[in-house]
Every structure is written in structure tokens, then in C-alpha cells.
């Protein structure tokens, strides 16, 4: 039973060139058995955070607790964590079996036969029994990844740490290994912390996502919540693919409604619920999947010119120019307007996000349907 708590975790690197804060005041609690994904752009401090939890990096300030016990001063092996590295880090001189057994040999008192048994069980779980006698260089990328996972699982650790484990695999293998990792997590139920730069991996795998930027935590929430109710502009843009379209808009209240205008043209109206700044310029966010496109103008539609119709198969991305601003619209597969043609966009104000242009803070997020909000509240 291991709950992981980070409290004010900070890492500052300093050398003759000056100091650099890689991680700043990260505080969060990961529940026992939870699968948490730390995500963010490169250099955001996600790997450093993971390495501090692993004990591979010293902590400048703050506390790391496993099950209520402070561990930040302990060596990696005494923390009883297991880690999967981006480049697998398999010991080149040992075959797959010895690689998996190595941790058991050095951090447990198990007898040789008990160790062999554990290795056999793990190999069966990961379907790598046939390659146990192979050396790492004889293994394919996927097999290496499985051996690396096996090496971590076999130790039955308190906490399972994964540092971008799938980024060296090709796209097809990546998605199958993603399911594999989820299956293993469901099976062994160890508290897991997974680092990736890929928001899609985070969205599909995580119980909760921790979003970092410049070493600071932006938000920790379930994937649904992160998608529907981002705290700020950065989170809103990071989550979702293609990313959210942004428009500079002005808000004008006419008593009953708030009119949202871009470059003087009305793009939609919001019911005046109060709390929105009147007459100010704010940033509007619209997800490509929340814009409707049609060939005929209708009530409250805005005309736009098709710049690039991008055929994708199961869905299409239509890049259009709306009053001097490029935006992307996601459509059904049968909707593929011609280049340079004029289309009409209708924007549902329920799906509109508004952000403070200066601070990036969310002023209004999407109004979710019942099903989604129920699920989000259950998980958070």
C-alpha cells in the first residue's frame, strides 16, 4: 500500500554559469494503486521530478513520502522503486533472464530457485518466455521494452516509475505496448508514475494527469477534466489534437446576451451569466471538433475561406481562414470542402472557452454534458 506524496518538491541546478530551477514547488498526492501520468513539453521538469522520486537526483527542497514515510534522503534501492528507462537500459552483457533477475539478486534475499520462479512468472505475464536466453542486442525494440518492464515488475516494487518508455518504439508498437502497460497495471495494481511528452499517451492511459510547464505544476486532474475544464490557456492548448484554435475576441454585453466579436464580426453569443469582463479583449478557445461546418449560411454562422482541406480518413481537418485568422476544423469523413471555397462555421457557445489574454487564466470553460461531468466527478 503505497501512497506517494510530493510536498513543495524543488530542484535547482547551479554551476558556474548560474542557477536554473528545473522543478518548482510541486505538491501532489498519488493514491495507492493510481496510475498518474506526468506530461509537459520538453524541458518542463517532468523527468527531473521522476528522477527525484526514484532517488537518482537529489532534492533541493521539499519532501517525498512513500506511504507516509519520508524517503528523499534514501538511495534508490532502499526506496524500493522500480524504473523503466527510455532507452530500456538493459545490461548488455547479460541475457534477458539475467537482466530480469538482476534486481532480485541484489535487493532481495530470495533463493536462486525462488528468483527463477519469479522470473518465469513475469516472463509469462509479458509473453517473453521464448527470448529469455537472448542477449539484448538480439531482441527487437518491443521485446527489449518487455524485458525492461519485466525487470521492473519482477521486483514487486512499492512504486513503479516509467520514463518515456514508449518513445523509442514505432507508432504501431507504441499503441499495443500502451495497452500492455495498462493491462499490467490493472493486474498488479502498483502505484505508477509515468512520464511522457505525448498528450495522447497521457489522455489514454492516466487515471490522473499532472501537467508541468517550466517546472511548475499547471493542473492535476482526470483526462476528462483536463480536456473540459482546463485551468489555463497552456493546459487548454496542450491537451487535445489538433490543438485548440485561439481567437482574439471582444465581449459586449447587451443586457441579455454577451456578444463575442472577432475583428468586429459577431461569431457567437453567450447568455449573460455575469462574471465576464464587458468590453474587454479576451482570448477565445475553440476545439477543432466543436466547430460545425456547412456549405450554406445559417443563423449565427460565420463565413470562412478554405485554405487546406486535409483528408485524414476517419475524420478530416479543414484549415480555414476566419477574418485573417487560421483555424482548424475537424469534420466527418464525408465533409471535405474544396480549397478556396467559402464555408460557414457555426460555433456553439457551450463549447467556447474564454481565457484572460494577460494571465492565461480560464474565464469560461466548456459546458459539459451530463455523462462526461458525472464521469469526471467520479474520478476526481
Amino acid at each position: 500500500m503505497t501512497e506517494v506524496t510530493l510536498d513543495g518538491l524543488t530542484k535547482v541546478y547551479s554551476d558556474s554559469q548560474g542557477t536554473e530551477t528545473a522543478v518548482e514547488d510541486v505538491s501532489l498526492t498519488i493514491e495507492d494503486g493510481e496510475f498518474v501520468v506526468i506530461v509537459g513539453p520538453s524541458g518542463c521538469g517532468k523527468s527531473t521530478t521522476l528522477r527525484m522520486i526514484a532517488g537518482l537526483e537529489t532534492v533541493t527542497d521539499g519532501v517525498i513520502e512513500f506511504g507516509g514515510e519520508e524517503v528523499q534522503h534514501l538511495t534508490p534501492s532502499t526506496r524500493d522503486v522500480a524504473m523503466v528507462f527510455q532507452n530500456y537500459a538493459l545490461y548488455p552483457s547479460m541475457n534477458a533472464r539475467k537482466n530480469i533477475e538482476y534486481g532480485l539478486k541484489h535487493s532481495t534475499d530470495l533463493s536462486k530457485s525462488e528468483r527463477q520462479e519469479r522470473v518465469a512468472e513475469t516472463a509469462e505475464m509479458l509473453d517473453i518466455e521464448e527470448v529469455l536466453e537472448h542477449s539484448p542486442e538480439e531482441l527487437s525494440g518491443g521485446q527489449k521494452q518487455r524485458v525492461a518492464l519485466g525487470r521492473a515488475i519482477v521486483r514487486e516494487p512499492n512504486v513503479f516509475l516509467l520514463d518515456e518508455p514508449l518513445s523509442n518504439l514505432d507508432a504501431k508498437l507504441r499503441s499495443s505496448m500502451r495497452h500492455e502497460i495498462q493491462r499490467i497495471h490493472d493486474e498488479i495494481g502498483v502505484t505508477s508514475i509515468y512520464v511522457t511528452h505525448d498528450q495522447k499517451e497521457a489522455m489514454t492511459m492516466a487515471d490522473r494527469i499532472v501537467l508541468l510547464k517550466d517546472g511548475k505544476m499547471q493542473q492535476i486532474a482526470t483526462p476528462e477534466r483536463l480536456y473540459n475544464e482546463p485551468n489555463n490557456l497552456f493546459t487548454a492548448q496542450f491537451v487535445g489534437s489538433p490543438s485548440m484554435n485561439l481567437l482574439d475576441v471582444s465581449l459586449e454585453s447587451d443586457g441579455e446576451d454577451v456578444v463575442v466579436r472577432h475583428e468586429g464580426s459577431q461569431i457567437c453569443t453567450l447568455p449573460a451569466t455575469g462574471g465576464l469582463p464587458d468590453g474587454d479583449t479576451v482570448t477565445a478557445g475553440l476545439r477543432p471538433e466543436h466547430i460545425e461546418i456547412s456549405e450554406e449560411p445559417g443563423d449565427e454562422t460565420v463565413p470562412a475561406e478554405v485554405v487546406v482541406p486535409e483528408y485524414q480518413g476517419k475524420t478530416n481537418f479543414i484549415h480555414v481562414e476566419l477574418l485573417g485568422q487560421m483555424i482548424t476544423v475537424r469534420t466527418e469523413p464525408d465533409v471535405l470542402p474544396e480549397k478556396d471555397s467559402t464555408v460557414h462555421l457555426s460555433i456553439d457557445s457551450a463549447n467556447l472557452y474564454l481565457f484572460d489574454t494577460q494571465t492565461g487564466e480560464t474565464l469560461k470553460h466548456r459546458e459539459t454534458t451530463g455523462r462526461e461531468s458525472v464521469r469526471a466527478s467520479q474520478q476526481s
Partner: protein
């Protein structure tokens, strides 16, 4: 038609592939000639000389005496001493230089103040001219005024004052190990620095001790570079002449034996036979080593 234009005609008729083959031959021809003149011819001539008695005057031809030179050598106690010395010298100075080189290289894997400068200093024994090193070592170990003598015998009492350590096989081995450890150091350090940190981190997470990490990660990764350094040093040490000769005249190794036999006693047939024996020993060693140790 002239010969030149005939040749040109024939060349023009070749296919591109054939032309490339001829171009290849033409390009390596100068080096093949050079190697033939400086290596192959002397080697063959030496092989021939080893079966002859070589007269002092160049006006007379060498006299064929069959295997007599080889028979003389086998029963010559001086040759047997030199052979024994050569093996001991080669083995231990090779091990010495490689082990010191490995040890020093390991010290350099960690970042420390003045590392670049220290790296330069470590290379000095290898860079300094041999003659200077040999003479300085002679002075250091001089039994009357040497600083080594003062420190190790007079101060620490490790051996009796007044003993001359210089003319022993052991001291030659120490000198050679000191002089050539930077070579091992350089090659081993280059390999050490290319071992991914992640391997050590994975082992730390797995709970491996410092020694276990060295044994299970560092050593296997260094296997080939260490084996290669050992092989190269073996070849050089086995043929050694100058290092030993300049340091002391009292430790005959085969290189010194060949020089003395050939150019002091002018028994050039016997000297030729000795160098043939050295060549055979070396080739045998390399063949065995490459087959069973390096497994190339």
C-alpha cells in the same frame, strides 16, 4: 600503333566495373610497393640469412649452413635467459600498464576540479622522450644520491640503503608500466565515457553495489578495449629494445640479445635466427589470443 595508344585503346574497351578494379589496383600499388620493399623483402632475406653464416665482409656471400644457427641458439644459455626475461617482461609490464591505465581512467569518470589539467599531466610519461625518462629514472634510483632511494630506503625503510634496484628485471617492468599506462588510460577512458549513464542508474535502482556495478557493467563494456590494449602492448613489449637498453644494460631481453649478437659479436646469422624465433612466437601468440581471448 604505339604501345601507349594500344594500351589506351584496350583500357577504353573495358567495362566500368573492370575500370574500377584497375583503378583500385593502381591506387594501392604505391603502398604495396612500399610495404614490399621495406617489409616483405627484408623479412624474406632475414629468413634466408637465418640459415647461413654471414661473413664480415660484404664482398663474400653468406654461406648456407642449414639449421645450425637454430641448434646453437637452443643450447645457448644466454638465449634461454633472454627468452625467459622477454616473456616475464612482456607479461608483467603489459598487465602493469593496463591495470594502472584502467585504475586512473576510472578516477577520471567523475567530474572534479582541474580534471582537464590532470588529464594532461597523466599523459606526460607517454609524451616525454624515452631517453629523458630513462635517464631521470636512472637518477631517481641511484643508490647514492637518488631521491627514490632516499624516500623508499632511507625514510620508509622498505629496502636496504645502498642497494641498486636499477639493474633488475622488476625495475624494468615498473619503468615500462609507468611509461605506457597513459596509452591504456586514453583508450579505456574513451570507452568508459561512452557507457550510457542509464545502465548505472538502472543498476542503482536494482540495488547493485558499487563493486557489482563495476563488475557487471563497466568491465563487460571495457572487455574489448582492454583486450585490444593488451594485445598491442604485448606486440610492442615482446619486440622491445630501446626502453630496456637505455634503462639498463643488465637485463637482456630478446631485442637486446639480437642487437648484441648481430652488431657486437657480428654473428648476423644467429641474430637473424633469433628474430625469426621471435616472429614465430609473436605470430603464435596473436593467433591464439585473437581466436580464444578476443574471439574476433
Amino acid at each position: 600503333m604505339s604501345v601507349i595508344s594500344q594500351t589506351k585503346q584496350r583500357y577504353d574497351n573495358l567495362t566500368i566495373k573492370q575500370k574500377e578494379v584497375y583503378l583500385g589496383y593502381a591506387l594501392i600499388l604505391p603502398s604495396v610497393l612500399l610495404v614490399a620493399i621495406t617489409l616483405v623483402y627484408p623479412l624474406l632475406y632475414n629468413f634466408y640469412l637465418s640459415f647461413t653464416e654471414v661473413p664480415l665482409t660484404p664482398a663474400e656471400s653468406p654461406e648456407w649452413i642449414g639449421l645450425e644457427n637454430y641448434m646453437t641458439l637452443i643450447s645457448d644459455p644466454d638465449f634461454l635467459v633472454a627468452l625467459r626475461n622477454t616473456f616475464i617482461f612482456t607479461l608483467f609490464s603489459d598487465i602493469g600498464a593496463t591495470v594502472i591505465g584502467l585504475g586512473v581512467a576510472l578516477l577520471f569518470t567523475k567530474e572534479f576540479f582541474g580534471r582537464r589539467l590532470a588529464r594532461g599531466v597523466v599523459l606526460l610519461p607517454y609524451i616525454a622522450p624515452l631517453i629523458a625518462s630513462a635517464f631521470v629514472w636512472q637518477w631517481i634510483w641511484d643508490p647514492t644520491y637518488g631521491v627514490g632511494q632516499f624516500f623508499f630506503a632511507d625514510l620508509l625503510g622498505l629496502y636496504d640503503s645502498g642497494t641498486d634496484l636499477r639493474n633488475s628485471l622488476t625495475m624494468v617492468i615498473v619503468f615500462e608500466s609507468w611509461r605506457y599506462f597513459p596509452f591504456a588510460f586514453l583508450l579505456i577512458l574513451a570507452r568508459l565515457q561512452s557507457i550510457p549513464d542509464e545502465l548505472y542508474e538502472a543498476a542503482k535502482v536494482d540495488g547493485a553495489s558499487r563493486w557489482a556495478r563495476f563488475r557487471d557493467i563497466t568491465l563487460p563494456e571495457l572487455k574489448y578495449v582492454i583486450a585490444t590494449v593488451f594485445l598491442i602492448r604485448w606486440i610492442w613489449n615482446f619486440n622491445v629494445f630501446a626502453d630496456v637498453w637505455l634503462f639498463t644494460r643488465d637485463v637482456p631481453v630478446l631485442g637486446v640479445f639480437v642487437y648484441q649478437t648481430g652488431f657486437n659479436q657480428f654473428e648476423q646469422g644467429i641474430a637473424a635466427a633469433t628474430s625469426m624465433i621471435m616472429l614465430v612466437f609473436l605470430m603464435l601468440f596473436v593467433a591464439i589470443y585473437v581466436t580464444w581471448v578476443i574471439e574476433w
